[in-house]
Every structure is written in structure tokens, then in C-alpha cells.
Amino acid sequence: MRRATIWLALGLVPAGLAAGPPKDSCVECHAALADELQKPALTFATDIHSQHGFSCADCHGGDRGADDAEIAMSAAHGFKGKPARKMAPQLCARCHSDVGLMRRYNPRERVDQYAEYQTSVHGKLIASGDEAAATCIDCHSVHDIRAVKDPLSPVHPLRLPETCARCHADAARMAKYKIPTNQFAEYRQSVHWEALAKRRDLSAPSCASCHGNHGATPPQVSSVAAVCGSCHAMMEDLYDKSPHHDVFAAMNLGGCVVCHSNHGVKMLAGEGSVCKQCHEAGSAESRTAAGMAATITKLDSALKSSDAVLAQAARSGMEVSEAVMKEQDGREALVKARVAVHTLDPFVVQKAAEAGMAIAAETRHAGEAALKERDFRRFGLLFALLAIAVTIAGLWLAVRALERGAPPLEESGRR
């Protein structure tokens, strides 16, 4: 006892012995309650704030060290109760806009979310008194907030579209804003969704990539091409130089989305080409479009055909990895040909496609050669097996002949 007192007096008690986990009467009491009052206490352990040592009192006020609920949740101890929805952004911003504080926990985290939010449609609606508009907790959840990179977070790239759709696909909720609710359904038909959901490509664009996250706002006609061009820089460059640029600008049309749509972005080629929407069938422009589409379809078919032959050879155990690798160059040529469409010049598309066609022919030939080689091997095997069978039969006959004259068994011999 005496020794402990001396250690304490000197302040030399090891931290691990002196400091246990701080008392949290909020969690202790609420965990013993039921339903809505219990839920936060149960989920808060998974919350990133809890993991960084924050407690209920850091948002709700009060004294988490007090055992008496009256004292713990007294105004004297700064208890605020449940913050109003519209106050949530300001409440979060107390810490998330504080550079000094955020640097202690996540130095790379931005601190301008609240400033951005105030410029967003959501933020403006909240400021105008519309409490139905989204605040931080609608997207990030509350009491079980996780880091964005956590796959269970509602704002993880793979889950973000569903999170936005919770409100934006709800016709009843969106009725008063008079905005469509089919964005998510359209997005699920897009190449972006395919990359994100099917190929699990976390860099694939989702809602926030075009609309922004905290500063969420729909791109205007003037900025659509710039938004798409932030990823598709080459296409934007070619589009800016193409005849469509000036025509669409004069008609006050939104660039890329005129052909590709906005949420249901598709690659355009072959049947069902959107070119027909503006260009009459049989017109020079329509024929140019059909020619470019045919070039791309031809290359695509050639690559698929080569792919099928190589896959068949690989299934037969043939070593075709070099040809498969080479085929990647053909796929790159296909992408380049598709990009070249934005020039609206069929010769540029043709030139890009020709390189791919040559590669597709070469890889298909390699696949066919591998299949021929496989057949040759099987024929060789058959021949070899016949030779082996004949030899075994010959040996058997030799043994029979040997043992017919003289019995093989000897009664004496070493053991």
C-alpha cells in the first residue's frame, strides 16, 4: 500500500495499470434499455468515432462519468439531447471542419465538407427549412458510422449508388421536388454500373463521381462535357474538335449525354445506334455512322472469334498464353477505335481498327495452330499407344514361348 502510494505520488504508475477504459455511463444505461433507446448503445462500438475514443457525450453533451442519469443528462453538464436533423451538419462540422483536430486522427481527411454541403442542393434545402433534405447522417448513418473505405459503410464506393437511391428512387419522397426517380434503375443499365458492380472496379464512377458528394448538385448543360472529360479526357478532346461540339452548343444540348444518356451511360455501336435520333436513314451522316459502327463491330467480332479459338486451345491444355497476351493489344486497339468515333471521321476509326484486326488475325491463327498441334499430338499418341500395345503383346508372346518350352518355376533358388 505504501509502495503504491509512493508510485502514485511520483506519477510513475505505468499507464496501462493506472488508466483503464474510461467510464461511459451512457452506454452502460442505454444498453439496459429497450428498442430505440438501446440501439445506439449496441451499435456504437462499431462506430469509427467510438474506435477513436469519442463517446456519446461528445455529440450529445452530458457527463458520461456520472452514475446518476439525472446528473449525467442534466443541463448543468451540457446535455443537449437528440440534436435536430437540420443541426446535424453543424454538429459534425464542429470537428470535421477543425484542421487541427482532424490532423490528429486522419491527416489526409478534407475539412471542407460542411462548406461544400452548404453549396449543395441538400444543404440549400436544409438552410431553407426543409428538414426532409439529406444531412450527414442520411448518407453516413448514425451511431454506427464507418470509414468510407470500410465495405460495410453506406458510402463505400460499392454501396454508394444504393445509398443515394434510398431517397432518390423513392417516388413519394421525391414527389414534392418534382425530380425523376429512375436514375438508379438507369444507372444499373450503364457501363459504369457494370464496371463497379460486376467487375468490382472501385474506381468506376457512381453518383458522387459526377454530382459531387458533399457538394452534390446536378451538372448543368455547360459542364456536362467537363464532368465526363474528368475521366474520359481523350473523348472530350476529340469531341471539342468535332462538328458536334458547335452544333450541340448552339442547340443548348448537354454534350456527351445527348448520345450517351446521363445515368444509363452505354457504349454506342451497331444496331440501335443513337445517330438515327438526329440523322435520317440514308443520309451521308447516317452512312458514315453505320460505316464506323460496322468497323468497330467487325473488330469486336474478330477479337471474340480469336478469343473463342484460344479458349478452346487453352481448355485442351495447349500453351497459348503468349497469344492471349497479344490479344490484349487487340482489345486496346478496339478501345482506341471506339475513342476515335468521337472525331466522326471514319478514316481515323478505320486506321485504329486495322491494327486490332491484324492482331486478331494473328492470335486467331495462333489458336488454330495450337488446335492443329493438339490433333497432331492425339494422332501421335494413338500411334505410340499402338506401338506400345504391339510391344507388350510381343513381350507376352515371348514369355509364353519361353515358358512353353521350359517351366518358369524353379523349386530351388534363393529367397
Binding site: 500453351e319 492425339r378 499418341l381 505410340a384 506400345i388 513381350l395 515371348a398 518355376l409 530351388s412 529367397r415
Partner: protein, 367 residues
């Protein structure tokens, strides 16, 4: 007559060699060498089949050496070159890989036939020990050769294998470092494994094969005790077949059959090359070693990470070590001090080991 002259020359040639090499004594020895004939004679062929497959390994291995380059930057490409550019390179590589597996299978069958036919009994203890050592070397050949194509599967399987070696008590870390030539599997490991595979292991294996064959010649081929008793009861001895040419011709039929199986496997299921190893990539899902390491691998996976105060993997390795030691020493505990054979114990142990290897290898393959 020219024929008579030719024959005379041949005879003179043979006599010349006989004088220098003692061919007559070898001929006498071969003429008197016999093999017991009974219901289990079939199992005697597996030793010869194992030897035949080893010879194929040596021949195809030498051919592969003409093109293979044992560096991390060139190994994969050189095997790819062998598979795609070298005339019949695919066949040589596939036969080398398949015959390695068949050789280990044949060695296992040979070993268990020795156990169940009681061929390990006095005075053949050293024959058994040299045989078990040869099986260990065959597994070493398999482990070291698996890495040489430097593909993803072999790279990560070697990582897992050398990790296990690192768990061996006391000498583990040093052993793992010795095997890897560093802290992790890399170019140094490949060079080292190549050295083991083409120089160290073949030298030791050749010496051991010589010893094993010499011991087989010295003690002859064993007959099972129950066969000996049956013939002894009637006052006779177990019938014998002349080794040459009767048994030898039959053995050749087995070799040709093995060659046919090898040809089918190599032509219909060419050994895959896979993707080049990328040390910075994460391990592919479902990584597992070759089939002959599957049973212990799967067992180690089943053991909890900690059993009592001990790490699960360490406990498993100690257990396998003790079991392997018990198996190696089989001839010495198969007979009690009074000289009575522990027949049931040996048969039971043999059945348990075969059942364990078959079941756990299958489970390891399926899971």
C-alpha cells in the same frame, strides 16, 4: 565362312571383355537370381516401375536442362519457350512432370506392398531404411522441382512449404532461411532449389539407389511369411521364377504400360504453365501443394491456431515428425524382444496410414 568368322570375332570380343570385367560371374549371378511366385508377385513390379520412372526423370530432366534458365527473370520464359518453341519440348516437360508424380505414386505403392508383404523383416532393415530415404528424396525432388517454372501456384506453394519448415522447433528459422536463401522466397530460392534438384538430390539418390539395389541383390526378394509357412507345411519351398529372362520380360511389360499411361497423360493433359510468379501479388485463392503433400497440409489446416500453450502448426509438425520417425523405424518395432512378430500392429498401422493419406488427400483436394 564369313558368319563363322563373325561369330568367332564376337566370341573373342566377349572373351576379351570377360577377362577384364568378369562377365561370367555376372552371367552366373543373373542366371541364378530368382523371384518368388505367389498371389502377391504382382506387387514386386512396382519397385522396377519406380526405377523406370526415375530413369525417365533423369533423361527428360537432362533434355530440359538444355533450355531451362534458373533465374527469377528468365525461368518462366524459358519454360514457356520449351513448351511453345522447342520441337517436342511440350512432350518432354509434360512427361517430366507427370512421371515425377507417377514415380512418387509408384514409390508409395512399393513401400506399402513391402509393409503388407512383410518384406522389411530381418535381415532387410537397411533395405527398408534406404527405401524410405529414397521416398523422402523423391518428395524433395517434387518440392524443389515444383518451384522451377516460377509460376504463381509454385511460388506461393513454396512460400507455404518453407513457412512450415520455419515452424520446426529450434532449427526452423535457420532451416527456412537456408531453403530460401534469404528472408523470403525469391530469386535466391529458385537458384538454390535448382541446385538441389539437379545436383545434390540426384547425387544422393544415385548413391542410395545403388545401395538399395545392392541390398536387394544381397538378400534376394522376400516371400511373405504366410506363403513360406504354407509351403513349409507341405515340405516344399516357395516356387521361384528366373529373374532373367522370365521376370525381366514381365517387368518390361509393366514399363511399357507405364510409358503408355505417361504418353496419354502428357498428350491429353499437358502440364500447365500458369501465370508467371509475382512476388508482390496477393496469394491466389485455394492455394495448395502437390497431391503428395496434401494430407499433412490439410491436417495442419484443421489444427486450431493454439492447442493449450502450444502453437497448432508447431504441434502438428512435432506430431508428423514423431509419426514419420515411428514409420522409418518400423522394422525395429515390428518384432518384440522375444522375436515374435507384431503382425496385427503392423497391418493396423499400415491400414491406418493408407486410409489417412487417401482420405485427407481427397479432403484437401476437394476443400
Amino acid at each position: 565362312m564369313p558368319l563363322a568368322v563373325g561369330k568367332g570375332r564376337l566370341e573373342r570380343g566377349v572373351a576379351w571383355l570377360d577377362e577384364r570385367l568378369g562377365l561370367t560371374s555376372i552371367r552366373e549371378f543373373v542366371a541364378h537370381k530368382t523371384v518368388p511366385v505367389h498371389s502377391g508377385t504382382l506387387w514386386y513390379y512396382f519397385g522396377g516401375v519406380t526405377l523406370f520412372l526415375f530413369a525417365i526423370q533423369v533423361a527428360t530432366g537432362i533434355l530440359l536442362l538444355l533450355y531451362y534458365r534458373p533465374t527469377a527473370t528468365e525461368a518462366y520464359e524459358s519454360v514457356q519457350f520449351i513448351m511453345t518453341r522447342v520441337q517436342f519440348g511440350w512432350l518432354i516437360r509434360s512427361i517430366h512432370s507427370w512421371s515425377a508424380n507417377l514415380m512418387i505414386l509408384a514409390a508409395f505403392i512399393h513401400m506399402f506392398s513391402v509393409v503388407f508383404l512383410r518384406a522389411y523383416r530381418r535381415p532387410r532393415e537397411l533395405t527398408w531404411l534406404s527405401g524410405v530415404a529414397l521416398l523422402g528424396l523423391a518428395l524433395g525432388f517434387g518440392f524443389s522441382g515444383y518451384l522451377l517454372p516460377w509460376n504463381t501456384i509454385s511460388y506461393f506453394a513454396t512460400k507455404v512449404g518453407t513457412d512450415m519448415a520455419g515452424s520446426v522447433p529450434w532449427a526452423g528459422p535457420a532451416l527456412a532461411r537456408f531453403l530460401r536463401g534469404g528472408d523470403d522466397v525469391g530469386g535466391a530460392t529458385l537458384t538454390r532449389f535448382f541446385g538441389f534438384h539437379v545436383a545434390v538430390l540426384p547425387a544422393v539418390a544415385t548413391a542410395l539407389i545403388g545401395l538399395h539395389l545392392m541390398l536387394v541383390q544381397r538378400h534376394g526378394i522376400s516371400s511373405p511369411p504366410w506363403i513360406e509357412k504354407r509351403f513349409a507345411a507341405t515340405g516344399g519351398r516357395v516356387p521361384q521364377m528366373r529373374f532373367f529372362p522370365n521376370f525381366f520380360l514381365r517387368e518390361m511389360m509393366a514399363w511399357y504400360a507405364a510409358l503408355g499411361v505417361l504418353g496419354c497423360l502428357a498428350a491429353l493433359f499437358p502440364w500447365e504453365l500458369g501465370d508467371k510468379a509475382d512476388p508482390f501479388a496477393s496469394a491466389p485463392a485455394g492455394i495448395r501443394p502437390e497431391w503428395y503433400f496434401l494430407a499433412p497440409f490439410y491436417t495442419l489446416k484443421l489444427i486450431p491456431s493454439h492447442v493449450g500453450f502450444m502453437e497448432g502448426e508447431l504441434l502438428g509438425l512435432i506430431g508428423f515428425g514423431l509419426l514419420a520417425l515411428g514409420w522409418v523405424l518400423l522394422p525395429f518395432w515390428a518384432t518384440n524382444r522375444a522375436g515374435v512378430e507384431r503382425t496385427r500392429l503392423v497391418t493396423g498401422a499400415g491400414v491406418v496410414v493408407v486410409a489417412y493419406l487417401a482420405t485427407f488427400s481427397l479432403l484437401g483436394y476437394l476443400k
